[in-house]
């Protein structure tokens, strides 16, 4: 077997304390039951042990992964201790952070995330993120962010670019820098049919150009995904590494688990209930990795359309995120990305002057 590592993305619930206007994840849901969690961890442990894996990765996603609370995660830690001791496990969590308030939550989250790495999400200037209880999302998130910093967390930010973002490119960049974000992932808004917020490929191209200018003027000091990846590709010719824009070797694969135990190749497929692999109650992980859907991303990346293969910027985007492919197999953002890459060609790229966030230099 060529596979060397199997990563788990666990969605313990799709419920959320917020209702962001463009969310794809929020659905009627339950909390992943203890029985199902145990089944998952036992099977993950059996599979990784059987194949001699020494490293693992567990990423908590949602919904809001802090919602299940202390009892759920205490049980997870028991299971981890019992069944996954052979693995050196990296941890992460995608959360709106707002529930990181009381001592009990702080303590359990710190135990679940010993690497102290969390990804939050804030829209500082537009009310796209709304709390169910009517409170201020931004204020709650900032208060929690302060506590997370105090507790030693590296905080990555995810920012969803929408139409209105074009008015605040520099402001948003510096807002994230000024709250002490360790890095920022900029992600275009997809499949949201609202004239005020809908982003076109051309908008994305313009946004990226403006953001690159701000980043460059700031001496590239805040690590930005996917810019760092493209920076490395541009200046050193190394392959891109970010899932969306790379062809990943088949040595590492991910499986996303829904609260009902359904399995998907990535959280975004789960959002859309596409390419479902099966259910953890009915499958072993040997069966999961043998399922064609489990390697659908790699398969699509290996069979990029002729138009992409002939494109001078193919190495930058590799046909983009497969969930954004149109009927021709190109990303829906193609036009905007091309215009941005053309712009990059015209830039004089300066040395970055700090260690890069992405994979280490291989020279």
């Amino acid at each position: 077997m060529e596979l060397k590592q199997l990563n788990l993305v666990i969605k313990p619930t799709l419920l959320c304390n917020a209702k962001c206007i463009y969310c794809h994840s929020l659905k009627p849901s339950t909390i992943l039951s203890k029985e199902r969690l145990e089944n998952l961890i036992v099977k993950y442990g059996d599979f990784t042990k059987k194949h001699g894996f020494t490293k693992g990765y567990i990423y908590w996603h949602g919904g809001e992964p802090m919602l299940p609370g202390e009892p759920f995660y205490s049980y997870f830690l028991e299971l981890k201790d019992k069944y996954l001791r052979h693995l050196d496990i990296e941890n992460g969590m995608q959360s709106n952070m707002c529930l990181y308030k009381n001592e009990r939550t702080r303590e359990i989250v710190m135990r679940v995330l010993p690497d102290r790495h969390i990804n939050g999400c804030i829209d500082p200037f537009h009310s796209t993120r709304i709390l169910n209880n009517g409170g201020s999302y931004l204020n709650d998130a900032l208060q929690s962010l302060k506590l997370l910093r105090k507790d030693g967390f590296h905080i990555g930010m995810v920012y969803v670019i929408h139409k209105k973002s074009l008015d605040v490119i520099e402001g948003t960049y510096y807002y994230f820098r000024n709250i002490g974000a360790g890095d920022v992932l900029y992600h275009p808004l997809e499949d949201f049919d609202n004239d005020e917020y809908r982003l076109t490929p051309e908008d994305l191209g313009e946004y990226f150009k403006g953001l690159w200018d701000v980043w460059e003027a700031d001496g590239y000091s805040l690590p930005i995904t996917p810019f760092e990846d493209w920076y490395i590709h541009l200046t050193q010719g190394r392959p891109t590494t970010m899932c969306e824009y790379s062809v990943r070797p088949d040595k590492v694969r991910s499986v996303t688990v829904s609260p009902e135990g359904d399995l998907y190749p990535c959280p975004r497929f789960q959002d859309r209930d596409s390419h479902r692999i099966g259910n953890i109650e009915e499958m072993t992980f040997d069966e999961v990795v043998a399922h064609p859907s489990s390697r659908i991303i790699a398969a699509l990346k290996e069979n990029q359309p002729a138009e992409c293969l002939a494109c001078e910027f193919q190495g930058f985007c590799n046909s983009g995120c497969v969930i954004t492919h149109d009927e021709s197999g190109r990303t829906q953002w193609c036009k905007g990305l091309k215009s941005f890459f053309e712009y990059l060609k015209s830039r004089s790229i300066r040395p970055i002057g700090r260690p890069l966030k992405t994979s280490p230099c291989e020279c």
Binding site: G171, D218, G219
Partner: protein
């Protein structure tokens, strides 16, 4: 461990702490220093450039001397008494950046005495004077000593050290700097007469997030990581446009230095990239 800036008369109350001892009288400073373990003494601070500094020549030469100039117009003439020629100790002067302060700066740097500027909320005319001081520091080849806060900020920009804030550089970080007033009350500094409490360790972090939540000028400022709202105190409505020019000039100079270093490094070592952690050569 915090450092307490204390009047010499209160030395016995701070026997276990890191201290800066201050007095207007050089003889009193000398007597107070004799009561302190050298390891706990950061420096002595002479209030005003006293015309008779001779007692300080008996200090251990490793003890830095800071001269806080009260009235630099009157005291500037005494500065030569504190030059390297007169003292073996490291000497620096603290100059309040009020109108006309450049004369004191010029005197100090010509005597090769390190200078630290005490800055409040400068108006446009004073910002222009600060820019002149910055030009002097950056571009006058005869200036051989640091002028603070410019020097430390320039280094922070050059090294991408985002945690070196103006609060630390100006010795006003509530987590580590304490100013004990003559009446014994403990505040952050004379500029920031905020009484220290148990939660003062979090003062800056709380302040940072208050400013971010307000979404005012600071929240999207290019220099907030170095400044953390330093100039928004005491008047929160103060506009930082002028000070942003000062920061911009410093950052531009840092970028020039970095580019020069990288060019030289590439020429000298053929280094493939600017990744400082990269082991390649």
């Amino acid at each position: 461990m915090p450092t307490y800036n204390i009047p010499a008369s209160l030395i016995s109350s701070y026997s276990d702490e890191m201290v800066i001892i201050r007095s207007e009288d050089p003889s009193e400073l000398l007597r107070a220093v004799e009561k302190v373990d050298r390891k706990r003494l950061e420096c002595v601070q002479l209030i005003g450039a006293h015309p008779e500094p001779a007692p300080l020549s008996h200090l251990d030469p490793t003890i830095p001397i800071e001269i806080l100039m009260k009235d630099w117009e009157r005291e500037a003439e005494h500065l030569p008494l504190y030059s390297n020629a007169a003292f073996r100790n490291p000497v620096s002067v603290l100059i309040d950046a009020s109108p006309g302060f450049m004369r004191a700066v010029n005197t100090a740097v010509s005597l090769r005495i390190e200078t630290e500027l005490i800055v409040h909320q400068p108006d446009e005319a004073l910002v222009r004077e600060l820019e002149s001081a910055l030009d002097l520091y950056l571009y006058n080849a005869e200036v051989e000593v640091p002028i603070e806060f410019f020097h430390s900020l320039l280094l922070a920009f050059c090294r991408n050290q985002l945690d070196d804030s103006l609060w630390t550089i100006q010795h006003e970080d509530p987590a580590r700097d304490r100013y004990v007033r003559d009446d014994g009350a403990i505040v952050i500094s004379p500029r920031l007469p905020v009484e220290i409490s148990g939660s003062s360790v979090d003062f800056l972090e709380d302040y940072r997030f208050d400013l971010m939540a307000q979404q005012g000028e600071c929240s999207i400022c290019r220099y907030f990581t170095q400044c953390i709202g330093y100039f928004k105190f005491p008047d929160e409505a103060y506009s930082c446009k002028g000070m942003q020019r000062v920061f911009s000039k410093l950052k531009g100079a840092a970028n020039e230095i970095k580019a020069f270093q990288v060019e030289n490094s590439q020429e000298a070592h053929g280094h493939c990239c600017a990744d400082e952690e990269c082991g390649c050569s």
